[in-house]
Subunit: 212 residues, 2 copies
């Protein structure tokens, strides 16, 4: 717990958690780092090293208890309790995130969505309420929301982020293709789908060059 923990390690812990849930579902009680790592296509050294930043979770000569490792990783990631999130922007992407089942499994509940469009607002979509932006502060306080997910067009992203920060949000998941300029005490995770997609064309180009 003393050394600096790589950010990549944190991301991988989520992967471990999901894989473990998968194995638990299959009634596997004890799992080795090798098996888990093979499943995720990483090295078993890496897996054990990642875990070692946080403590000792396995038994030498045996392996890891699936259930107990799940519990431990949940605790490390803060997923042993429920977090409230809201989605800003109720377009296709906002909808996709709002209704994605996987978040709930991992302790993140989408409590509300916000949109500027008159005809999306004040409706219930499968237990989710969509509010106009003006209600943001009230809803965030009432529903105890700690995480904001930005799924608005890029022009509106900065304003959405500022608004979220003003409402006391300390963690933002930004899917808009802009670098947000907001106070640095707010934790921001950017996921830029088109930049990610673009890295594929680079490799495709190399592949074609190699073949010709």
């Amino acid at each position: 717990m003393l050394k600096k923990i790589p950010e990549e390690t944190i991301t991988r812990l989520s992967y471990y958690l999901r894989a473990l849930l998968f194995f638990k579902e299959k009634d596997i009680t004890i799992i080795s780092s090798k098996r888990l790592a093979d499943f995720l296509k990483i090295s078993h050294h890496q897996l054990r090293k990642d875990l070692s930043y946080f403590g000792q979770f396995g038994r030498k000569g045996v392996g890891y208890s699936c259930v107990r490792l799940i519990e431990s990783i949940r605790e490390i990631l803060g997923l042993n309790r429920e977090w409230g999130a809201c989605v800003v922007g109720f377009g296709n992407l906002g909808r996709a995130l709002s209704f994605y089942k996987g978040f709930k499994d991992e302790g993140i509940a989408i409590k509300a969505a916000f949109d500027i469009s008159e005809n999306k607002v004040n409706k219930d979509y499968a237990n989710l309420k969509v509010y106009p932006l003006e209600k943001m502060e009230k809803v965030i306080r009432k529903e105890k929301i700690q995480i904001g997910i930005i799924a608005v067009p890029k022009e509106a992203a900065e304003a959405a982020a500022t608004r979220l920060a003003e409402c006391g949000i300390k963690a933002i998941f930004n899917l808009a293709p802009v670098k947000l300029d907001i106070p640095k005490d707010v934790i921001v995770k950017d996921v830029d789908l088109s930049c990610q997609l673009t890295s594929l064309t680079y490799h495709l180009k190399l592949l074609e060059a190699k073949q010709s």
Copy 2:
């Protein structure tokens, strides 16, 4: 061009490209690495180092020509021509990706979508045709599609990937939360939204611990 190029460099090139397009839009013709880097909140050393893997693009004492650097990065990333992509799974996420304008700006055109659902299929949505899975091979060949985007539920992802590979697709952008087990000559880029989101809760937990 001889040294090994970090994968992160490739991703950052996409960011540079987008920022440059933004500056060009604002009629800025010459830009320094410092200004571009500040805008993207990275170090100017990093930016110059990244570019140096591919050649020399600036003028000492002056800076970079916006237009020429855009052209150069497009060439590096293979974005100076059009790539055809298809989306498998026409749920909310699939729709979001299908209609996202940003891809087209970057040379990636979504040519078709596929879905198993009877009532989504064989319809036109804003110039995009949604086909049943059986038509995949035919459509991919006809439309010269090189990139497959997987936006199906996790249970269906592996089959979708295998199918795409069988149709000759060499690059897959996988948004389903599973590690695909397909031939390694297929380039796969995984973007797992819920694992990314989860890394936020870890930092939120740390933040709370610090404050108490």
